[in-house]
Symmetry: C2
Subunit: 171 residues, 2 copies
Amino acid sequence: MGTLEPMEDEVDRLIQAWRRERPDLDVAPMEVLSRVSRLARHLDRARSQAFDTHGLESWEFDVLAALRRAGTPYQLSPGKLLKETLVTSGTMTNRVDRLAARGLVERLPDPHDRRGVLVQLTPAGRDKVDAAMADLLTHERTLLGGLSDGDQQKIARVLRELVRPFDLEKH
Amino acid sequence: MGTLEPMEDEVDRLIQAWRRERPDLDVAPMEVLSRVSRLARHLDRARSQAFDTHGLESWEFDVLAALRRAGTPYQLSPGKLLKETLVTSGTMTNRVDRLAARGLVERLPDPHDRRGVLVQLTPAGRDKVDAAMADLLTHERTLLGGLSDGDQQKIARVLRELVRPFDLEKH
DNA sequence: CTGATTTATCTTGACGTCGAGATACTCTAA
DNA sequence: TTAGAGTATCTCGACGTCAAGATAAATCAG
């Protein structure tokens, strides 16, 4: 019955250590969730590297990408932006300040609400985010290279199920 | 052939927007990797909440857990600790300072290397991390509740494959 | 032994984020 | 019309992290 055992990774080491120290605990959830956390960490680093080429920081890309996704005229309020990027309002003010200083976005007064502001992508900002996005996807395709299409779909479905409760709770 | 379509999540929205704006790009990698990143973010928040009960911050748990996993006498050098927790040396100095101030760890001189230090869990630190770990796992089991054992094993295997290249590259 | 290199830890300053609160404007309903 | 509640954005101080550099001790080559 030769089950082909996959090679060990750091999480296997981690789990082994916990089982030794706390045999009373069921550490099975770590098999999935610790790997998700660690992989996300590595992905962040990889993203940063990919963006380096374009002189972009990850946080800059996050904002520019949200504007780019919105479609012409590439405008969103700071409020919408912080919902898209999951940061607080103070953070977004700061981000927009710096992106504007770099000439990648502009702040325009909202014509319909004098409290409001619209953040708009400049042509330079659009070019940067388009180039960075293409590179990011190329790089990510490499990372997924080893996975069959079937496995990718399977894991995407499972991850969707895991994320959904969180997406729902914030209403 | 009634394929049961899973409900949409935020990443589906994201992907749809990119396909509309950039039909020239193959955004399939996001199906997996964006979900990994977002799930990890949500997991971080959930972890923080679970630790709140014990008056612990996530970063505190990370250090205490590394020491706890090491087994009696629950000692590790700052160097080993920063390899375990993936932070820089300055960060670890700061963390140990604050944990020592709270009485959860102690700094001892390394008897074999006068440059060195050993960070040791106090009994109070051990109690805290043991209680927090048990709660964390209970909570994580809930999050995974909807998944069959088979799905959990499948996804764990796939994630291990995705993480391995990163685990290897840092030698 | 001696000088050069490496290793282990700590120090410092800059940075990005958060959370609480301030300010200005809009909306609702009496 | 107006008081009060709600909303949009910005300000500010505290915090944790990082990167670069400082210090001190160990190790290695000659």
